[in-house]
């Protein structure tokens, strides 16, 4: 009677080396053999956990960084937009003021306003000549040429 050949559990090729290393480090106990399916599940869970932790450590900060950077850029972009809008507004306001100032300071407008308020240019010009070449004394000061009261 022939006995069917016992199937050796298949290990993926990429794990061959790892398994071998693990076996060398921890020789399998001489305890009763554990069923192969249970060993495989534990290892898989362990690897998945490692992967998840690794992914979390690497990916999460990257994701957070990207999101933060994006938010920062968006915020800066908004600020730039706002500043540009403000510059445009102020430029327009400046131009309006220049226009207004130019219009209001036109000599014709000022002259018309002055006429309405009873102002006019002088009809004649009178030049005052000082005699003797000396300047008149400032107001309030006594004229030295006039004798003071009590003086001889």
């Amino acid at each position: 009677m022939s006995v069917p050949a016992r199937r050796v559990p298949q290990v993926p090729e990429w794990l061959d080396g790892e398994v071998a290393r693990a076996e060398r480090a921890n020789p399998p106990p001489q305890s009763p053999p554990v069923p192969p399916t249970a060993v495989r599940g534990t290892r898989r869970r362990r690897h998945r956990l490692g992967f998840v932790i690794l992914a979390t450590i690497i990916v999460a900060p990257v994701l957070i960084g990207i999101v933060s950077l994006n938010a920062l850029l968006a915020q800066t972009s908004l600020r730039i937009d706002e500043a540009e809008r403000r510059i445009e507004e102020l430029s327009r306001e400046h131009l309006t003021l220049v226009h207004e100032q130019a219009r209001l300071s036109a000599p014709g407008r000022i002259a018309a306003w002055a006429r309405r308020n009873g102002m006019r240019l002088p009809d004649d010009i009178r030049s005052l000549h000082t005699s003797g070449g000396s300047l008149p004394a400032p107001a309030g000061e006594a004229d030295a040429s006039v004798p003071r009261e009590g003086e001889a």
């Binding site: 130019a102 036109a106 010009i125 030049s127």
Partner: protein
Amino acid sequence: MRRPPLQRLIALLALMAVAFGVIFVRLTVLQVSQAASFRDRALDQRLRRIELPATRGQILDRTREPLAISLEARDIYADPRYVRDPWVTATRLSPILGAEIGELAARLTEDTTFVYLARQVDLDVAERVERLRLPGIGFLEATRRYYPAGTLAGQVLGFVGIDGEGLSGLELRYEDLLAGDPGERTQELDPHGQPILGGIDVERQPLEGSSVVTTIDRDFQYQAEQALADAVAANRARGGTVIVMDPRSGDILAMASYPWFDPNAFEEAPPRTYRNRAVTDAFEPGSTNKVITAAAAVDRGAIALDHVLSVPWQMQVEEFTIHDAHPHGIQRMTLSDIIAESSNIGTVMVARRLGESALASYLTRFGLGQTSGVSFPGESAGILPPLYRWTETSLATIAYGQGVAATPLQMASVYATIANHGRWVRPRLVLGTRSPDGTFQEAPASPTRRVVSAGTAQTVTRMLAEAVRAGTGTNATIAGYEIAGKTGTARIPLPDRPGYYEGEYVASFIGFLPASDPQVVIAAILDRPVTGYGGIAAAPLFQRIARYAITRLALEPGRPLRTLPTALPQP
């Protein structure tokens, strides 16, 4: 089954090889040798280039007050392909743009992809149109030229066309400086005309034009214009010109010609009003030209100052009879008396002593017959007949200012030369330029040349002062100030044949003050005033402007000049 003949297969193969060869060659040509060209053409189809207008530089007066500025505006256009209902669109736009509905609708139905609906509209008007959100209506950035003082110095400033290019005056002369460099926005569009996201979108910013700082004093210009308008009305003249000039620097402080126009609405004014007559129109100066004869005679020593001539009231020269303005017996006159009384016959007698060659030389040295170099578009050189064409009559008439033509600016320059101690200074209208960053670059000083000696200029000034004190120019006097000047009453030549209009004159008065230290030259000229004479029509105009000059420029009276020998009885 019968197999195809081998020859057929070979022929078919050869044919296919040739066909593929042709395709290969064509592909090679398209993809390699002509690739760049086709790529550029394809790109060109996708690109739209929009010109970004540069802000035009300002024109400022000498105190940096604005005479011409540019304001932001919008051009409104339509792409009729995208206009859904032209009549509804036109009806909604009409009240905002102030255009006829029919006219707008006609434009909106044109078989084109671009049509202007309004040019250079104010921003608030553009915003009102934008709020309507009409399909097919677009906006372009533009600027609008604005002259805040309206008609003030209109002919000097000139104006710009609808595309913002200078068409006359300083706007034309300094177009290169004022215009700046327009920018450009290049966008890559899809077949529907929409920008491709991530496609080419490049913008080159426009460079603002430089500003031109003129020598014009805005307030002085206004007062000169007011005085001119009043004088034209009071004397019922057809027009007039005023020039105010600094004789030392050649700076023109005011330059006005009546009738004038508003450059903000130049289309509504008659084109003849656009001319800056002070520079573009030549007139026969009449007696104001006698100053050149007198200066030449003194400079050449043709007549002593105390020499007395016996001057009749009329004289025969070739077939013509020339005479003084008023009949008189034979009068004993010195050169100073001749100028003061503006005697034509006396001037002719002096000119004969001087000789035609010397007179022609001095006329040229004073700047007649050549442009002044003020660098203004359309400047006239006047008319000075070449010496070889002079006759005895030419010598006589040119000596007192007929048969020769000069612009008001040329005549003002003649008096400025006397006022500037015999040195001619080229008149100028521009002090310098101001770049967009505010840096002022001063124009080089005007070139000068010696025309007569300082002594001659001083002597002629004393003659001119006498003309105002006791001669024909008494209406120009201002108490406390000594003014030097000369009246002119010139006949007007007929345009189509030899001869002059009867009873029509150009009245003028040109002078300067204070006579002892001249700081301002004023030329006042009226075209065909009913009052006729320069001493009556133009001298009061000079006086009014001179009075303003005293206050505006803070002129001191100066010292009185010594009088010259006279043979006339003194009052």
